[in-house]
């Protein structure tokens, strides 16, 4: 009987606070099936690790350290922004990948990423079959943007949503308590280049923070400057203050991002975006209202300290399920979360073909955005609420979380050429 095939696991694209929980799910589950899966190699810096033959042997990592990945944010093995081109444009790259897999007896490819990554995994599956060295390719969903189709939500999103909801709640209390004599408007800029899922999560603070946030700006709704300013002014008049949560991807009706509105410094250098400071400037110059703004940027997607328990559980379960699907003989699929009920929140895992997932972007649907375009509907609230439920605190020592940082030793290379 042949030795079991090894597996290759890679993290792809922007990291999240729970992508390592998926890694833990993959590695711990593979370790339960030594008769089916040999070693799990992790790509150093994602798919670049395969292309450069930089493979981390996870069998050398202790069970305790793998378990600690479950509460550690960011990409423990390194991730990358590197999209393989189409098969026709750069078949050599795919062939290189498959050559590396062949050299290390890799028969399973677990790719933990967003839509592009699922597309890549699908192509590797097809091409490897054509080349006579079939690789079982399973995608594992991951994206803070929550923009993958079919799955109820994407691991990473629930925790960002919780961070944004909690932060909006806290900042709203702050502004409310000072507004009589100080700041009237607060703007929180959150991620979401094309979809407003993260901004929508800010609205979860609403019933708790006595009406705040008052305005949500979605990329799905074209920015109407006059209407927006009117709404800010009315809110300040009626409530005494106004809290705004804005997606980085909010755009003018002609498609230009607000964040690319041509800021220049004193020397005329073009300034990097930030839709929050843009809106702050607008509110100051047009309404003369004192305002403050925050840009959460990486803090939001790295905030494992305030991760959602449901999100961590799903990230782990999807990693685990990916391995189980592979072992059961499935190929070119991605496990997804299917919701059974809102309250109590119940879910189970199914799978869909990668070909269906690839390059489909799930936007916030119309029925989730309130009629005026500045808030969420009850349906959206019901969808979002379970995703932020539960606190999955990491362990602490001396005031700081005990996140694990692995030493990433790669195994000896077997191939001569390098491509990247």
């Amino acid at each position: 009987m042949n030795a079991p095939k090894n597996a290759f696991y890679a993290q792809s694209g922007g990291v999240t606070s729970v992508i390592n929980a998926s890694a833990a799910g993959v590695i711990e589950t593979a370790r339960l099936h030594p008769e089916k899966i040999g070693k799990v190699f992790a790509g150093k810096n994602g798919i670049l690790g395969a292309l450069n033959e930089e493979l981390i042997d996870t069998s050398l990592i202790s069970a305790a350290d793998i378990a600690a990945l479950r509460h550690t944010p960011a990409g423990a093995f390194g991730s990358c922004r590197y999209k393989l081109k189409g098969l026709k444009e750069n078949q050599a790259e795919y062939e290189r990948l498959i050559a590396v897999f062949e050299a290390h007896n890799i028969g399973y490819f677990f790719y933990n990423g967003g839509g592009d990554s699922q597309d890549t995994a699908n192509k590797v599956s097809q091409l490897s079959l054509e080349m006579g060295h079939p690789i079982t390719c399973i995608g594992i969903p991951k994206t803070v943007d929550n923009d993958l189709p079919f799955t109820d939500s994407c691991p990473g999103f629930g925790s960002v949503a919780k961070y944004v909801a909690v932060s909006t709640f806290e900042a709203s209390l702050d502004v409310a308590s000072m507004a009589a004599s100080s700041t009237k408007v607060f703007i929180l800029e959150v991620m979401g280049r094309h979809t407003g899922w993260i901004a929508a999560a800010g609205a979860l603070a609403q019933p708790h923070a006595q009406g705040a946030p008052h305005i949500i700006l979605f990329p799905e709704v074209a920015f109407n400057q006059a209407e927006f300013l009117q709404k800010v002014q009315n809110t300040v008049k009626q409530k005494g203050y106004c809290v705004i949560v804005v997606s980085e991807g909010v755009a003018h009706p002609d498609g230009r991002f607000l964040a690319e509105s041509g800021l220049r410094d004193a020397f005329g250098h073009a300034q990097l975006g930030g839709v929050a400071p843009y809106l702050a400037g607008l509110i100051k110059s047009e309404l003369n209202l004192k305002n403050h703004w925050a840009v959460a940027d990486y803090l939001q997607r790295a905030a494992r300290h305030i991760a959602s328990q449901n999100d961590v559980d799903q990230a782990y379960a999807l990693g685990k399920s990916a391995v189980e699907l592979a072992i059961s003989g499935k190929n070119a699929v991605m496990p997804i979360v299917v919701r059974d009920s809102h309250s109590p929140y119940r879910w189970h895992i199914e799978d869909v073909a990668l070909s269906k997932v690839a390059n489909v972007e799930k936007k916030v649907p119309k029925e989730f955005i309130s009629e005026d375009g500045y808030g969420i509907t009850q349906a959206c609230r019901e969808y979002l609420e379970p995703l932020i439920a539960g606190e999955a605190y990491p362990p602490y020592k001396n005031g700081l979380p005990e996140y694990i940082q692995l030493s990433l030793q790669t195994i000896p290379k077997k191939l001569k050429e390098t491509v990247i």
Copy 2:
């Protein structure tokens, strides 16, 4: 025997995630001494509540709701940015304050704020004595900036420090895992207009995040652009990435804030600051390094979800102590935290005269800043570490903290005139 005098409690200036814990300390302790203190009135929106005779009767608030203040951020009674002028310039304002106190049989004034507030409390004490209606005035320290003298630290600071240390740690892991193919430099802007205590706290992530953050910029150190850029470039070369924590108050050698560097939008409108986007623009234009930036703004000082247990404990203890000092006959003093030892961290409470505290700003001392000006020393680390220790999580329901929001009913006015 006369009825005991009532007390007036007010929150002042920028709020924090633990100022309500001080309020709970004041109110709960006063309730233990009904023979000495009658009702505790809270000023609606701080000292404005006294000037406008808008007094909240805290005796109507349940014990459970007062207890919940201990885990609720921001100013539960409202705060304000309103500085009373000097006695000579506006004695009428002080006289009005004392008239309101007299009308409501108020004999105790607890003022929860920074240096300006301690100065005000001191003046009220003096003038009320001269006017024959002596008020016992006790200051309660509060400032995220940690800039009050005598006290080991200021309530509010430890929790911001924890937020900044944890966030810097998390964002550093994020950047490190992506740097091979993506963002090389990350900049986190934190509060601190005149002092770098909060920025210094970012350095607590250092031994944990494998070297990051690499650069701390303090208001206490004049910005040297060429040297800074060189250091960023060297760090990226050596480590692959660079994490920077910058105080909002960092200034050029001539004293101009970096954040006031004349940003203009496409229409020529002056843009509100942000030292982080300023540095980001500089790093992009001068070094052509891909970077990201975050501005924490109110999120940091409102972040009760990641408050330091020691900070919460001290905030409460100082409120409690203020009442005990008043009852024991002290006047025109402020309770302070005195550190007995770093490790194990031990502290006790003493008090100092308000006259000594007023308008003194404690900056980060030279021996706490590393020789090159971009980091902290071991002495600074020993000072800071206990301040962020312990997690004081609020209770949660459906994924969000259960922060209390009081309904602020004011009592009937007794005076006719209003001044504000």
